[in-house]
Symmetry: C2
Subunit: 371 residues, 2 copies
């Protein structure tokens, strides 16, 4: 099966681009934001609701599913799509990032990573081969290569060695891959060093993969530094393949990423903050938990036509969130994901009409961001 990426249009005056990626579970129009369904569920949402807000593809986390309920169980269920009742595309990460950031202890060698589960302290070992074995069992449309993601800050020598190992791990992932109906994306590392980013890109592009990700950003570095890397890193990747910026997802990040030639994004940010009562609106962020909204009988966002904004008030949603009622976090999550996906749709339209920069300026103006 083919994972064809078609570059449909480049926007004038910016590197923003419009594309289409075909997968066994349907086509994805890019640039796109992928809601995160860590444990085989996008928190609070049904698949029908995800469709309602036009989620084209979701991401799920290999590390979590490997630990609970286990990839063998999901394979037995007929794969992740069937297990969770989602028939559109899925992307799984490699588990690498979570092994480094969540597990209690980890020991990295050329062979792979030994770690203790953050749930029960049990010992595990994930190698590139094991990551692919797990992702093969899960059966996502797009698998990610097992990489090492250096922390920030990290010295040049470490980052260089790490990216070279990541390339060797990529080669092992490619060898371990067995299914034709799954694509494998490689991941560029290189930290905050331009020449190392270029070096990493060169090495992974050699393998002529159907897509490439930029890893190692949004790991604690200042926002300006992330933008600086985004100014050059995407250009080291081939134009005719989709580019995925991992773990990034505020409205600002999405605009800035798209403007620099990124096609795919994912982040838990919109769903996580929703559960704390923070919502995106066309006028900027609103913390609906706050006392200010106690008697505010207007929608979360006046300019929004989503299910939540058509039917509920800030006062009601605040009441639900304050009382820990599940419907409250359902409504804020739904709204936030709708907001981001709707924004991405508007971004695609703007690119199609060569007015991305204008749309960004309008959005930033209303949202209260500086261009």
């Amino acid at each position: 099966m083919s994972f064809e990426y078609t570059l449909k249009k480049k926007c004038k005056d910016t590197k923003a681009r419009l594309g289409e990626l075909s997968t066994p579970h349907g086509k994805i129009e890019t640039p796109i934001f992928m809601p995160v369904g860590t444990k085989a569920t996008v928190k609070t949402m049904t698949p029908e609701e995800l469709r309602e807000i036009n989620s084209q593809i979701i991401l799920s986390n290999t590390y979590h599913l490997y630990l609970r309920p286990g990839h063998d169980l999901i394979e037995e269920a007929g794969g992740l799509h069937k297990f969770m009742n989602w028939d559109r595309p899925i992307l799984t990460d490699s588990g690498g990032f979570q092994v480094f950031s969540l597990s209690d202890m980890n020991k990295i060698t050329e062979e792979g990573v030994e770690f203790k589960s953050h749930i029960d302290g049990s010992k595990h070992f994930i190698s590139p081969e094991k990551s692919i074995e797990i992702q093969t069992a899960l059966g996502a449309d797009i698998m990610m290569a097992f990489d090492e993601c250096p922390p920030y800050p990290a010295d040049r020598e470490y980052v260089k060695k790490s990216l070279e190992m990541t390339t060797r791990w990529l080669e092992r992932c490619i060898k371990a891959k067995t299914r034709d109906d799954q694509a494998l994306f490689g991941i560029m590392q290189g930290g905050m060093y331009k020449d190392l980013r270029e070096e990493s890109a060169k090495q992974i592009v050699e393998f002529d993969l159907p897509g490439y990700a930029i890893g190692g950003l949004s790991v604690g570095e200042p926002k300006e530094l992330m933008i600086e890397v985004l100014d050059y890193a995407p250009d080291f990747l081939p134009e005719n393949k989709p580019r995925y910026l991992m773990g990034v997802g505020t409205p600002f990040d999405l605009f800035e990423g798209v403007m620099r030639g990124i096609d795919m994004f994912d982040c838990v940010f919109p769903t996580r903050v929703a559960r704390n009562g923070l919502v995106f609106t066309s006028q900027g962020r609103v913390t609906v938990r706050n006392a200010t909204y106690e008697r505010d009988f207007t929608p979360l966002d006046h300019d929004c036509d989503c299910y939540v904004c058509k039917n509920y008030t800030r006062a009601y949603i605040r009441h639900l969130i304050k009382q820990n009622e599940i419907l409250g976090v359902r409504l804020t999550t739904y709204h936030n994901l709708h907001f981001l996906l709707d924004m991405m749709e508007n971004i695609r339209k703007a690119i199609a009409e060569d007015r991305f920069l204008e749309y960004r300026a309008e959005f930033y103006e209303r949202y209260g961001l500086e261009v």
Copy 2:
């Protein structure tokens, strides 16, 4: 506005009856189970989902809404229907039962009940007049009279005095009522004493109200004793008015109540147990949390055609519940409410066709209950 109850049919061989109650927000076919939306939300469910499973009417709790967010706020929002976006009938209880069972301290006098909030210990006073004031602000179609619900066990003398005060309180409620678009139901008390039940019924029926409830059952007494009271208590109430058995709601309770002439029920049981991973099925209760269901890739209930059973497996729902994923309790709640409401619909059909006892026998046989 009229709250007309039409007795449409009596089932042969039992006291089960088919009726219709009209309210300003639509007609209710009885016998009916009312899902409980304590804090202006049936936990985990949207109004659309409640419609999908044919919830004809829901119940909401005066005590909780009075404390949070406050009845004045809900009145300002345009009433409870508008606040929570539910346009079908609502019944509110009087707050009495929660004042006795939930508050930290309570002092009952002829005037009313003084109590401390279970949330922050603040002092409050609810009288019959205050209860009606709150319920008037909430704007439910059906309000309940403020009564005293004696605990179990309670001695005869106490129960007798209590029911007499409940009658005096009812009279005060009637005087305090102001809106024509709200019905007020009286509540029969009398504990486990047949003559006191009869006495209470006589006193409240004097007021010729549009409906009557049986209170003071399911308060800790043995099941046999509740059934014993249900054998006679409904007969003390007029045939041409709806009869509501408060706080009762297992499948067994519903069948046994209907068989003895009850028309309306409410209970948190189906939604509360759902959140612990216990579901009703045509073959009896299933605790889907249990390890037995880890790799059970069949629906919660083979004989169920609800959204949950059409789309998800026990293994997936168990995974979600074990991982504290909100979607898990959404699915079990949806299924349990669907199960009970579907069962009530089948009960209504069976009454219409004079085969209530056969349906009950079939259901009990499959469910594992003794007739």
